[in-house]
Amino acid sequence: MTIAAARMLKGGTVCFVGIGLPSGAANLARLTHAPDVVLIYESGTIGAKPAVLPLSIGDGELAESADTVVSVPEVFRYWLQAGRVDVGFLGAAQIDKFGNINTTTIGGSYGKPKVRLPGAGGAPEIATAAKQVNIILKQSRRNFVEKLDFVTSSGIYEEGSGRASKRGRGPTTVITDLGIMSSTPESRELVLQSVHPGVTVEQVKEATGWNLKVADEMKQTPAPTGQELAALRELHARTAAAHGTVATSE
């Protein structure tokens, strides 16, 4: 999943990176095929080149390796909302067919939720102000749902939805542990384009809480290369050594 997501980032892209899976994928891209990708974290670190993956969005490693460190108001105003970001790279707790994402509450009501999640962070403005958005998350019926419990950040543009000030194209690509979905201006919803090696289209549909549209010509995600796997393992091993935790490879 991380390798498939990393491949989505082309060299020279300016990418606003969320913490966790997005940060892992974005840094793997930088360490393999896209050394000149520009990574911006919401802590104000622009052009960060961390040797180990940060645990938080503002680890010292990000500041020390950045081209420049700006304030938080500045990063959201001059850099994100002004339209300087090519790709926003986000994670999510729940997603629907339009790429709307939920990171706020699960179950119950907003005031009395069953599970209270961390909330919006930078996502609502990243999702709409970046020229396009990639989302990375694990896929199951539990989090790929017909209707979100709460729309934290909006997805693909819908005609007549009153989103007049939306500037970017929204979530164009969703990368999961099973495959890759993308939206086009014609489809206006996520369409399965590629399945990972060893995964069937049926499995992906089974792990989706709505009737997932499938591309006419299904592709198979190319298997990870030795170079990609080695770079990912080294990155996780360095990170685990730095944070005193156990390396995980996804």
């Binding site: 913490i19 304030s71 909330g119």
Partner: protein
């Protein structure tokens, strides 16, 4: 002019029950020592403002200091949930917690508006989000020049803002560097400012464009070495990521959390003693 006082004196004189209070620091330079002192002095009914509540607000909420929280992301970064924050919202423990929820871009803009003396902030925010349905402070206006629909939210002007910084000089000028977050805006938006610092120096040696809060906008400066631990101070010490991981376990259970806070925060006189208490526990574990 900033007064050089102890943290105990600063909190006692500037933080009242029911006050609106911001402790800022975006992952970096989080004012833990000041948060602990508020807990020790038993403040109640606070409106706590912070973009990323983090462990210090988890502790303050769990100890019953807050009745209201204004925030944009409430998690344990890279680890998972803030259990005390969740318990307060989901089950009202130890007291009901009213929440006012925004996005990061908006919170940053609201502090900027507060620092600018403007009544409200404007962002290209919340397009298509459900947040404005739950938070009635988020309104939409039409740009008088282009007709674009934009989000408007009221300025933040805390009674007190607390920040932690690397250095102050004897006059009380405060230097902050590295990830500077929203501290300058949060300080200039507030009626009173407490700055805890790693060092008091003769000469700040600040480059011309450095982020310096002049002494005349700071109310109190307190010398509290390592006062941001377990977060970090660029140039002084690294983030204690292992503690952030350990907190998940400590805070999960109400009773264990209370015992931990009693032992390390309520039973210690100040942050230096708290640090010794926590380190003694850590050493015992590593030799077990």
């Amino acid at each position: 002019m900033a007064e050089l006082v102890t943290l105990r004196e600063a909190v006692a004189s500037l933080v009242r029950d029911g006050a609106t209070m911001a402790l800022e620091g975006f992952t970096h330079l989080i004012p833990f020592a000041a948060g602990h002192e508020v807990i020790r002095q038993g403040r109640r009914g606070l409106t706590l403002i912070r973009m990323t509540p983090d462990l210090i607000y988890d502790q303050m909420i769990g100890m019953g200091c807050a009745s209201r929280l204004v925030f944009s992301w409430g998690g344990n970064p890279g680890v998972g949930s803030l259990h005390r924050f969740r318990d307060a919202i989901q089950a009202g423990w130890p007291a009901p917690l009213e929440i006012e929820e925004h996005s990061h871009a908006d919170m940053a803009a609201r502090y900027q508006a507060g620092a600018s003396g403007l009544p409200f902030a404007v962002t290209r925010g919340y397009v298509g989000s459900d947040l404005p349905k739950q938070n009635l402070k988020i309104k939409f206006i039409e740009c008088p020049f282009t007709g674009e629909r934009l989000a408007a939210t009221p300025a933040i002007n805390p009674d007190v803002t607390v920040i932690h910084a690397q250095r102050a000089d004897r006059a009380g000028n405060v230097l902050i560097y590295g990830i500077i977050g929203v501290q300058k805006e949060a300080a200039l938006a507030a009626k009173r400012v407490i700055a805890t610092v790693e060092e008091i120096v003769e000469d700040l040696q600040a480059p011309p464009n450095a982020c310096v809060l002049p002494a005349w906008v700071v109310t109190c400066v307190c010398h509290v070495p390592e006062g941001a631990r377990p977060s970090y101070a660029h140039g002084y010490y690294k983030r204690d990521n292992a503690f952030y991981v350990a907190w998940d376990e400590i805070s999960r259970d109400r009773e264990r959390f209370r015992q931990w806070m009693q032992r390390h925060v309520l039973s210690t006189a100040d942050f230096a003693e708290y640090r010794r208490s926590v380190e003694a526990d850590a050493n015992m574990k590593s030799h077990a």
